[in-house]
């Protein structure tokens, strides 16, 4: 089995983001960047399938500016075999990303594509499902358990009511929840070895797909601030405030 994993470089989840004063977006200069957290789960799941002998090759693909390669390099350091970097210096919406990934899938012919369930920057939660629709493949979204059974994958999904289990035919798309696994850290020798693994360089322009953005971002602003509250001295005061002032109990 061959697996493709799509990864995205985003502002690190521990960074408190700052909205630009002119409302044009979020400041990304000199801000720590990392792999989108659930994409790490996607990589880990692919590597586990390889370790269990079920997958032969894993390819990591990213789309973005030159520095986006860091996320592919990191994937190579934990067991991914080779990388693809599709260069684009401007923002591409999930719809355009899915179209590029479709072309990559058509060329590489993986049996499975793993993605994170959502990117923590634009919070769209779309790319995996869109790619599945474009390919006519089934999808297992928000996966917290993945079991490979011959030509079928059984996926346990995190849904609002609890858990849902489905079986999907291969080839398939799986989008990963944070609870799917515990991503490993790269060891220093593996980081060194990863530097020798190949990353194919491509350019988004050369894919011949319509990646024009359909959504105009008019402004980005800070959410309204809550007015600052008070500290109470005792539990009795707290309960009295909740009862008589806030009137919520």
């Amino acid at each position: 089995m061959k697996i493709l994993v799509a990864v995205k470089r985003v502002i690190d989840y521990n960074v408190q983001i700052r909205v630009k004063d002119d409302g044009s977006g979020v400041n990304t200069d000199n801000v720590k960047m990392s792999t989108n957290p659930p994409d790490d789960n996607a990589i880990e799941e692919a590597v586990k399938l390889k370790e269990s002998g079920k997958a032969k090759e894993i390819i990591a693909v990213t789309i973005g500016e030159d520095k986006a390669q860091e996320t592919v390099r990191k994937a190579l350091a934990v067991g991914v075999d080779r990388g693809i970097h599709v260069k684009s210096d401007s923002y591409i919406e999930p719809l355009g990303i899915a179209k590029i990934l479709k072309k990559v899938v058509e060329k590489e012919k993986p049996d499975l594509v793993f993605l994170g369930k959502q990117a923590i920057d634009d919070d769209c939660n779309q790319t995996g499902q869109m790619l599945a629709a474009m390919l006519g493949w089934p999808q297992g979204t928000f996966a917290s358990k993945v079991e490979h059974k011959d030509k079928i994958i059984e996926v346990t999904r995190e849904v609002d009511e609890g858990l849902e289990t489905i079986q999907i035919n291969l080839p398939a798309i799986i989008t990963c929840d944070l609870r799917l696994n515990e991503p490993r850290f790269a060891s220093l020798p593996n980081i060194m070895k990863a530097k020798k693994k190949p990353i194919e360089q491509l350019n988004a322009k050369d894919f011949n797909v319509d990646i024009s953005n359909r959504i105009q971002q008019l402004k980005v602003e800070e959410p309204p601030k809550r007015k600052s509250g008070i500290k109470v001295a005792s539990v009795a005061e707290l309960v009295s405030k909740l009862k008589n002032e806030a009137k919520v109990i």
């Binding site: 779309q126 869109m130 359909r214 809550r226 008070i230 109990i249």
Partner: protein, 317 residues
């Protein structure tokens, strides 16, 4: 212009968040048609017909829609979208699963998780886990939109007499199969819709200590939540998780106990009407968004809290 709204249900009853999505839809256009796709779901269609804001109920009854598999649903929705300008669903795991598939089939960029509708093509949505709000304008002819249910009030459910129309299912190759659903059963109200939520964090120190939270939840008829740290530590199941990667809740009262207030947790609860924080670390970030902060050891404060509640003559349910 007209809106095609996809109803969420379990084949016998409508799920409440559909009502919030209908209110959102009414801010786009008054022509709201609701698709009820399911198996033996005629009762749901009848229920939807009584919602005054709904113009027409499109009922598509077929075993292939019984479990709302997106591979089966998306082709049906994209066909029905031909006569509509907007396709709308809730931004929960129901809508998030199929809507991008519909958008891709229509070659449309989806607008996810909308919290405010400025006009039929201009929307406000949170990004970066709610740490910024983006105002966006869609230039697509058709618009696929998912709605954050807690940002809109539920639509009224009585007095309507919408027309019912039967829709034929669409044949698609079967590439996915439903196996089972394990619903979390609880005597308490559901986390997503509860009026009061009390959540514990890493400060609870063990799963057993959650009984302190549970007894207060029972007294207040509250749902029990947790931070990701508490879930990761195994104190409580992940269906209780509040936050960016768990559930977003907007109760009248949110009580955070032993929760420091990581960005990812705040994203799931900071729109709550009243926030209470109980934490022994006076510098914990949770205090910066709390209406009432109590700097105290939770193992002393929670039993006292229960005692004080017991003293009250009445408690709102």
């Amino acid at each position: 212009m007209s809106v095609l709204l996809i109803a969420e249900h379990n084949n016998s009853n409508l799920k409440v968040f559909t009502l919030n999505a209908i209110t959102a839809a009414s801010k786009i256009d008054q022509e709201i048609n609701v698709l009820v796709a399911g198996n033996k779901c005629a009762n749901v269609a009848k229920e939807v017909a009584t919602i005054p804001l709904v113009k027409k109920v499109l009922c598509c009854d077929s075993p292939s829609y019984e479990n709302f598999l997106p591979e089966n649903l998306a082709p049906l929705i994209s066909k029905l979208s031909e006569s509509h300008s907007h396709i709308i669903a809730s931004a929960n795991t129901f809508g998030k699963n199929f809507m991008p598939r519909v958008a891709a089939l229509l070659d449309v960029s989806q607008i996810s998780d909308v919290i405010k509708i400025n006009s039929p093509d201009e929307f406000v949505r949170p990004i970066y886990a709610g740490n910024a709000f983006a105002t966006v304008k869609s230039n697509d002819k058709k618009k696929c939109v998912t709605i954050r249910p807690t940002s809109f009030d539920p639509a009224s459910t009585s007095g309507g007499t919408a027309e019912l129309e039967k829709i034929d299912p669409i044949d698609v190759p079967s590439i996915s199969k439903f196996v089972k659903r394990e619903e979390t059963k609880s005597e308490r109200p559901e986390l997503g819709t509860a009026r009061i939520v009390i959540s514990g964090g890493r400060g609870m120190q063990s799963g057993d200590n959650f009984k302190l939270i549970n007894s207060i939840a029972d007294k207040l008829n509250a749902a029990v939540g947790a931070s990701r740290a508490a879930v990761d530590a195994g104190y409580i199941g992940n269906d209780h998780q509040v936050g960016q990667t768990g559930k977003v809740v907007v109760p009248d009262l949110y009580i955070a106990v032993g929760i420091s207030g990581a960005i990812q947790h705040l994203a799931g609860m900071k729109e709550s009407k009243i926030i209470v924080a109980i934490n022994k670390d006076g510098e914990a970030p949770i205090f910066s968004i709390a209406d009432y902060g109590l700097e105290a050891d939770l193992f002393e404060a929670l039993p006292q809290f229960l005692e004080e509640l017991n003293k009250l003559n009445t408690i709102q349910k």
